[in-house]
């Protein structure tokens, strides 16, 4: 009889799935490819999280500790699953460190990959030092000082360009990354808080601060922190004639005029790509991918968190752009499905 669930990926979704299994008194084996747990919020050094306002290292720290402290959890970092045999109730996974794991069911929480801004060269990333991504800006905020990387001056103006690497057929990314609007309005507030003399502008096509994020982030950012919202998709970022500032070019669609506006820092609100390893993951685990390249889900109404293979469940950003809070909920949901497979087996053998 199998008493173990295998969880692959130690981000918010995976840590939550582990806690779900542990809470039911079953064993969990967590396999994480990086040398640390915590997923994107830790690996990319996010600052304060949306919507709790808690520092990523504190919030994720608690999740990690809860799993690490459990005698029921076995954690492999710096490790991958290289092959999988068997079927629901009796899987055997071979790990890159040579170990074999027997598990009744599996939860995949392998997450996403940040969009690489190099793929949009016209927006200046990689060309100009003062063009940053939201993750880099989050790291700057976490460091407590807002300054231009090029020469350390305090920026008079920062702009955040939304939908970088999302909603763009040119680069084959037709999805909305869901959280970057909220993250950007939050980032604007954090910048203003640290550097009150800096004006923050957000260039948008739509503002998608869904649900309760509407007034807590969008409205608050605009009304209390004076973030300015400009309706334009930027075409190009170039160097200003002074050799220091950056020029942001586009069309202000409300004024119906071209704009060429100087800024000190330009931030790309990068989107969430499918995990670059997804084709490999799909091969190893024998599961399908959906058309964008995220892991395909089964019929959701009665096979919640199911993948296309029995006994393998999926949660979090592995399924598509997702928030931390929802990834955590899905991790618990997937754990309960995985646990049910173990109990179904108990009943069968009894």
């Amino acid at each position: 009889m199998q008493n173990t669930v295998l969880v692959v990926g130690g981000g918010p979704a995976g840590l939550s799935a582990c806690a779900g299994v542990i809470g039911a008194g079953k064993n969990v084996v967590l396999v994480e490819k990086e040398d640390r747990l915590g997923g994107a919020p830790i690996l990319s050094g996010y600052a304060k999280l949306v919507p709790s306002g808690e520092w990523a290292k504190d919030a994720m720290g608690r999740m990690i500790k809860r799993v690490e402290d459990s005698a029921l959890a076995k954690i492999h970092t710096g490790t991958r699953v290289v092959s999988l045999d068997g079927s629901v109730g009796d899987f055997t996974a071979t790990l890159s460190n040579g170990e074999r794991v027997s598990a009744g069911s599996i939860v995949l929480t392998t997450g996403f990959t940040h969009f690489d801004s190099i793929n949009k060269p016209e927006w200046g990333f990689g060309t100009f030092e003062d063009v940053l991504t939201t993750t880099q800006m989050e790291q700057m905020v976490a460091g407590g000082k807002i300054a231009c990387p090029s020469d350390g001056r305090v920026p008079e103006r920062v702009c955040i360009l939304l939908c970088v690497g999302s909603r763009d057929r040119q680069i084959g990314r037709e999805w909305c990354s869901k959280i970057c609007c909220t993250v950007s309005t939050n980032l604007a507030m954090e910048i203003k808080e640290i550097s009150p003399q800096t004006d923050v502008f957000i260039y948008y096509m739509d503002i998608r601060t869904f649900g309760l994020y509407e007034d807590k982030f969008y409205w608050k950012s605009q009304e209390e922190f004076k973030t300015k919202f400009v309706k334009a998709r930027i075409a190009e970022v170039t160097r200003a004639p002074d050799g220091k500032r950056l020029l942001v070019k586009g069309e202000d669609t409300l004024v119906k005029r071209p704009i060429v506006i100087p800024f000190d820092i330009v931030v790309h609100a990068i989107g969430m790509d499918p995990n670059v390893e997804n084709t490999e993951i799909a091969r190893v685990f024998g599961i399908g991918l959906e058309k964008h390249g995220f892991i395909d889900r089964a019929e959701h109404y009665t096979n919640t968190c199911g993948s296309t293979r029995r006994g393998i469940y999926v949660a979090g950003a592995a399924l598509g752009p997702e928030t931390i809070d929802d990834s955590i909920s899905q991790g618990q949901a997937a754990a309960s499905r995985a646990l049910a497979d173990l109990y179904a087996l108990v009943q069968k053998t009894a």
Partner: protein
């Protein structure tokens, strides 16, 4: 190349020069028409705070451009160039030169407040129209409105004499707004007054018109009031400017 299709270009962007020398080359004649660049090259970041410091402008930065105000607007129904949503956007970004293009219609807001009642972000667009109109007036971009001129005449008389003299208010208002004294409605009003008013009151009217008596013991009251109003206005403006920055 000479510009043949000037009709395609905003008239205010066509610059012609009698004679023009560029980089030491005389380009007078056929070459002397230049087109100003049509892109917007900067924002005036502080402008929104200037407008927020005017009564009514306080909430302008809240706008998210839904267009409800414009759609409901009484004046927009008359003239689609009257677009409160658009001016609010320009205000927030500090695109002053674009606002100035509409300086001659912004003041025509009739204060019906339909916009204020419908705005989902409580921007109070009617107040913003007022704030913009006052700013345009203060900066000398527009002439004083007739209602401002009337108010000034009225208050001026009160402060000078402790009372107003109706006929002087009307006559001075007409003079300052360069309107003819002989308005049909006025002639009619005077005719009816002559016909219906008791002789005693008419005489008093005439006396007051000629001698503009002051309210009893008015003394320096007007001066003191004027100074007080001036101080209060300055203090209020400074307070609002301060508040707009936080």
């Amino acid at each position: 190349m000479a510009i043949h299709e000037k009709s395609l270009i905003d008239p205010d962007r066509i610059m012609t020069h009698e004679s023009l020398v560029v980089d030491g080359v005389d380009v007078s004649g056929h070459w002397n028409t230049m087109v100003a660049p049509r892109f917007l090259s900067d924002y005036d970041d502080d402008f929104v705070n200037v407008i927020r410091a005017y009564p009514g402008g306080e909430n302008v930065h809240r706008c998210w451009q839904c267009g409800s105000c414009t759609n409901s607007c009484t004046m927009y129904a008359q003239n689609t160039d009257f677009n409160p949503r658009y001016w609010i956007y320009l205000t927030n970004l500090g695109l002053k030169s674009e606002i100035l293009k509409d300086k001659d219609i912004i003041w025509t807001c009739v204060s019906c407040n339909k916009c204020t009642n419908i705005c989902p972000k409580d921007v109070r667009p009617e107040g913003v129209m007022k704030a913009l109109a006052h700013w345009l007036e203060d900066e000398g971009h527009t002439d004083k409105t007739r209602s401002s001129i009337f108010d000034e005449e009225f208050t001026g008389q009160v402060l000078d004499h402790g009372r107003i003299e109706d006929a002087h208010v009307v006559i001075n208002f007409l003079r300052k707004t360069k309107q003819p004294y002989f308005q049909d409605w006025l002639i009619e009003a005077v005719k009816r007054l002559m016909r219906h008013m008791p002789v005693g009151m008419l005489t008093m009217l005439g006396w007051n018109f000629l001698f503009t008596p002051k309210t009893r013991s008015w003394g320096r009251t007007g001066e003191v009031l004027r100074e007080y109003v001036r101080e209060q206005k300055a203090a209020a403006h400074a307070r609002m400017k301060e508040a707009a920055h936080v």
